[in-house]
């Protein structure tokens, strides 16, 4: 029994040293690698490489990653590398190399343009990062061969803690983020989103009912907060797994969230009893030979790696709280919003109109954003202050270089509507954004949110 707190004398160090079959990790490696291969293919076939990375003239960068840009037509090669390395990871072929290559190429793709930011892409990056350090190729792989005998291998929980912690943390933090007055007391944004799904068979006609939005909001918050605990304990686990499947199927039907539901379902199956997973693999790959049944090896991370893993978990625990260092409403200014498992929390839309002023002549004119951006980029730009600032700098560069306006001033007048409230002015239209540096500092030119959202 590996369960924590199963006995009164539970201790972490004992638990960390306990052994679990490698089978869990193998199934996860295979399923995750395969899903990611399919994801890359899906992205390609949907034409999104062209649409998101080749067509736009301008790309929004993360701070410090301005050097990460699409490769023009060669971006297809990047996706090919990413897809093939995911397949290599699934099959355990040159495993460490494949895993490293997959992590690097996938993360590179995500860093090319923050317009496409999704929490689940970040999750995939983090899982891929973890997998680099996991001995997931020691059995049933191209590297170690497909002999069922390798299934006798075990890993210490010190390895397993990493994926367990990450999956639990994603759920729990997503749940914490829902503990706010918009989500719980106004049922927003679901009250806005669900009626738009009126065309679904069976449930469609219910989705316009207010109580359905409230039910989904509360159920979603309770689910997120409790499911990691239910997965840890063997008594509640079967029910938790059923919930996970139902919940993610539902989100897949209701929202455009791509492959995320499948990834999370695979993540939840990490918690299934390892011996059951081993039995499943034995059914597929044959029996253990009798003479080797007695011998089994246990893989344990070296102490150095233990520190590294701990540091990773501590970072994951703390990083989402960085928004506390910024004044004002997080949903409004979004400083510290990303990379924090805040999923499906906001329906935000906006409109931003830039004006350029030539300081020499005093000439003032407005900009047509679509001259530079795709409709998707313009939508993301319109309500995210870091986008608004970055694009202002781009405009300043453009008019300086292309139209030879010396030190052009750039002003933004933006209006944003959040979670069913009326749109209100978002930026100070009298601040020259060209003179305002990008960075982590609080952006004082974001106007105050004229309402209050209570909670975390």
């Amino acid at each position: 029994m590996w369960m924590p707190m199963a006995t009164k004398s539970f201790s972490w160090s004992t638990w960390l040293n306990q052994e679990r079959s490698i089978a869990t990790l193998l199934i996860f490696r295979f399923a995750f690698g395969l899903i990611m291969t399919i994801s890359m293919l899906r992205f390609w076939l949907n034409g999104w490489i062209e649409k998101l990375y080749i067509e736009p003239d301008f790309h929004f960068s993360y701070l410090g990653f301005e050097w990460v840009k699409p490769w023009g037509e060669w971006t297809y090669l990047l996706f090919l590398i990413c897809g093939l390395s995911a397949l290599g990871l699934a099959l355990g072929l040159k495993y460490r190399f494949s895993a490293t290559l997959f992590f690097s190429s996938f993360t590179y793709i995500e860093l090319m343009d923050k317009t496409t930011y999704l929490n689940h892409y970040y999750f995939v990056s983090m899982v891929a990062f973890i997998l680099i350090f996991m001995p997931a190729h020691k059995a049933l792989s191209m590297d170690a061969g497909w002999s069922a005998n390798n299934l006798k291998l075990k890993l210490s929980n010190a390895y397993y803690l990493l994926p367990f912690a990450l999956v639990s943390l994603v759920y729990f933090y997503a749940g914490l983020a829902k503990l706010n007055s918009d989500w719980l007391l106004r049922a927003e944004p679901l009250a806005t989103w669900l009626p738009g799904k009126y065309d679904l068979p069976l449930i469609g006609s219910f989705l316009e009912e207010r109580w359905v939005a409230y039910f989904f909001s509360w159920a979603g918050a309770i689910y997120d907060l409790s499911v990691p605990f239910m997965l840890w304990f063997s008594r509640s686990r079967p029910f938790a797994l059923v919930l996970v499947v139902v919940f993610h199927l539902l989100t897949r039907i209701l929202f455009p969230i791509g492959m995320f539901p499948f990834i999370m379902v695979v993540g939840a199956f990490l918690f299934v009893n390892a011996e059951k997973q081993k039995a499943l693999l034995l059914k597929v790959f044959g029996r253990l030979s009798a003479d080797e049944k007695s011998r089994h090896a246990v893989l344990r991370p070296a102490p150095l790696w233990r520190y590294f893993f701990s540091a990773f978990i501590v970072f994951q625990l703390l990083w989402p709280w960085r928004y506390w260092t910024y004044p004002g409403e997080l949903f409004w200014h979004e400083q510290g919003f990303r990379f924090s498992w805040r999923v499906m929390l906001m329906e935000k839309a906006g409109y931003v109109q830039y004006s350029i002023v030539d300081p020499q002549s005093g000439r003032r004119f407005q900009v047509d954003n679509r001259q530079f951006l795709t409709s998707f980029q313009e939508k993301q730009l319109s309500f995210q202050p870091d986008f608004i600032l970055e694009f202002a700098h781009h405009l300043a560069d453009y008019y300086q270089q292309k139209e030879h306006i010396a030190n052009p001033e750039v002003y933004a007048e933006a209006y944003v509507a959040l979670n069913g409230r009326a749109s209100q002015a978002f930026t100070d239209p009298n601040v020259n954004l060209a003179a305002y540096p990008r960075g982590w500092r609080n952006k004082p030119w974001i106007l105050d949110f004229n309402d209050t959202i209570y909670g975390l």
């Binding site: 059923v242 409709s375 209006y415 009326a422």
Partner: protein
């Protein structure tokens, strides 16, 4: 899985509690769904197709008037042709919003109303007898802006004489009229023979569904054509100095203003659900918003938008009759009209599209 039944029971109880509480709390129950199917058929049968029928009829008139002028270029026939032109250009304002289906695939707007006309290029094409007008590079030497130049020009009298004296100029005009007629006929017939049913049947909520696409088209047209094209660009909003040459129908004096006013009314009527022939009204964006009880700052969002349309109308009434010379004298009424138009961009594009859940594009996005 022994515990499953117990948990399922718990969820059921919980859901019942939550739902009861909510019902008791607000006391408002939505009994029937908003009838989107009838909104789509109203749009198709009472708004869009009648507008195309009218437009095509007007283009036929213009084509006939041009033919008559070609046979007998009298001042009287010139007058008839110019009247038919103005009337057809005005009726264009009622269809250009609906860049969906055949209008989208035929690039109707690009071939009909890209202005300003590149007059140097146009004169070149006439001299060379270049009649291949299918390339994007020829958008700005055809359609109404080119016709505007040919029949009015910088000086109406000179334009008349040029048409009479230069046969190839007149036959180019005839060619442009024939093209507009063929194009509008294709689009109208596509609507009547098949696309109407496709349009009405795509009732879903996805990015490809008719409601979504048409709302996107409507808001885009309002922002780019009505606000920027007709007012903002000529008033110098995007350049810092007045660009009177960018006025729509720049050669025919008072037409510019009436084109703008027609366009404004067409947008407002679409929003409020008035049939093209104005004898009935039907389900619309206004009634859709009201059905969803969308309020902003204590008022119905739809009333805010309609009040703003009234304000725009009031500002537009102050505009000079001749845009071109009016702009040269004083751009202020144009800038005021632009600001009034701008406010509704925010309410339509931010508040309305958010409330109606209109997707801008099909890509994965989890709302953050």
């Amino acid at each position: 899985m022994f515990g499953l039944g117990r948990y399922a029971g718990l969820v059921l109880i919980l859901s019942t509690i939550l739902s009861c509480k909510e019902d008791a709390g607000t006391g408002q129950q939505m009994t029937d769904d908003f009838d989107r199917a009838s909104m789509l058929s109203f749009w198709a049968d009472e708004v869009i197709i009648p507008a195309y029928q009218n437009y095509h009829g007007q283009v036929l008139n213009f084509q006939q008037a041009t033919k008559n002028f070609q046979l007998d270029p009298t001042e009287q026939n010139l007058q008839y042709m110019r009247e038919a032109y103005a009337s057809a250009y005005r009726s264009w304002q009622w269809v250009s919003i609906y860049a969906i289906g055949p209008a989208e695939s035929e690039q109707l707007l690009n071939f009909t109303n890209i202005y300003p006309c590149d007059t140097a290029e146009l004169n070149q094409a006439i001299i060379q007898g270049n009649l291949s007008l299918n390339l994007p590079s020829t958008f700005d030497i055809q359609g109404w802006p080119a016709i505007d130049y040919l029949i009015y020009g910088n000086d109406p009298t000179t334009a008349y004489q040029s048409l009479v004296q230069q046969g190839d100029r007149l036959s180019f005009l005839m060619y442009l009229a024939n093209r507009l007629e063929a194009l509008s006929k294709t689009v109208l017939e596509d609507w009547q023979n098949g696309y109407r049913d496709t349009f009405v049947s795509q009732q879903g909520s996805g990015a490809d569904a008719s409601t979504n696409k048409l709302i996107n088209d409507f808001v885009y047209h309002y922002e780019k054509e009505l606000r920027a094209g007709k007012i903002g660009i000529p008033a110098g909003v995007f350049s810092g100095s007045v660009l009177e040459s960018r006025v729509e129908a720049v050669y025919s004096d008072t037409l510019s203003k009436s084109l703008f006013l027609e366009g404004l009314t067409a947008h407002r009527n679409f929003f409020s659900g008035l049939a093209f022939n104005r004898d009935s009204d039907g389900p619309s964006l206004q009634s859709y918003l009201d059905y969803l009880k969308i309020e902003r700052g204590g008022d119905l969002l739809s009333s805010r938008i309609l009040n703003q349309f009234e304000l725009i109308q009031a500002k537009a009434d102050n505009l000079p009759n001749i845009f071109k010379t009016g702009l040269e004298n004083n751009a202020t009424p144009f800038l005021e009209t632009y600001d009034a138009l701008q406010q509704n961009v925010i309410w339509l594009k931010v508040d309305m599209m958010q409330a109606l859940n209109v997707r801008v594009d099909y890509v994965d996005a989890d709302g953050d």
